[in-house]
């Protein structure tokens, strides 16, 4: 069992298709402090590929990706 991650902000992106999950996380990550974590919950299967691509391009870090019952949960740490 991985260590429980504490999110500083929870972002509900359920039901939103492309490009909204990536658009929203890019906006919301800037509303927390550097080093803080946003937990983004999405139902978009494309996000599984898109969030890592987004993080790599923007220099943010995805700490963990949880998949369960049609939902993908990303824990994103703001580095920049």
């Amino acid at each position: 069992m991985p260590v429980e991650l504490k999110a500083d902000k929870v972002l509900d992106l359920k039901g939103l298709p492309c490009p909204m999950p990536v658009v929203r996380i890019s906006q919301e990550i800037m509303t927390v402090g550097i080093g803080q974590v946003v937990e983004a919950i999405t139902t978009d299967p494309g996000a599984l590929a898109d969030f890592p691509a987004w993080a790599a391009s923007t220099g943010q870090e995805i700490l963990r990706t949880d998949q369960a019952a049609g939902e993908v949960r990303f824990y994103v740490k703001r580095l920049l």
Binding site: G15, P17, P19, V22, V23, A53, W54, T58
Partner: protein
């Protein structure tokens, strides 16, 4: 034969060749079809989310999608009026490039989009404006079709431009697309 004379000698100017490539995307939006316009808006808003700067160059059929249905301008000649009448007046009036079927296909697609929470073209334009996507509209296309600046939508980052503006921007962009 004025054009022949003009192309005979064109010394190449090397300035600008070594300009640094920046993290930018430049798109030519030539098409006035709903599906292709949506693709252009999704890519450009996605690009801003990815930390890129995005600029859309609207030309030819694409310009009609930027008209504001609530605005009208006086003083157009007959041809301009005819073009204005025949071309879609804004983002809500554009149709699919395929399967339009007299508007039925487009209506069905819009219904599906709503059902699946896919943003409409109008909503995408608003989002693009909020995110800082820049729009340049081809001056020559506007003139050709008789469109005036005053009948375009209120978009926060819109300007009129020509081919040189696109090339200068594309030259320093990492990604260039023609849609």
């Amino acid at each position: 034969m004025g054009t022949e004379q003009a192309v005979k000698e064109q010394p190449r100017q090397a300035a600008g060749v070594n300009l640094p490539v920046e993290n930018k995307i430049s798109l030519i939006v030539f098409s006035g079809d709903l599906d292709k316009l949506l693709a252009a808006l999704i890519i450009s808003t996605g690009a801003v989310a990815m930390g890129m700067k995005a600029r859309l160059f609207f030309t030819f059929w694409g310009t009609a999608a930027l008209r504001d249905a609530r605005k009208s301008v006086e003083g157009k000649n007959l041809m301009s009026k005819m073009f204005g009448f025949m071309l879609p007046k804004g983002a809500t009036k554009v149709t699919l490039s395929k399967m339009n079927m007299g508007g039925m296909g487009t209506a069905m697609m819009k219904m599906l989009m709503k059902q699946k929470k896919v943003a409409s073209l109008g909503e995408m334009l608003t989002l693009a404006g909020q995110m800082g996507v820049e729009i340049c509209v081809c001056e020559m296309s506007m003139g050709l079709m008789g469109f005036k600046r005053e009948e375009l939508i209120d978009y926060p980052h819109m300007s009129l431009c020509g081919v040189a503006s696109f090339l200068a921007e594309a030259n320093t962009s990492r990604v260039q697309l023609f849609i």
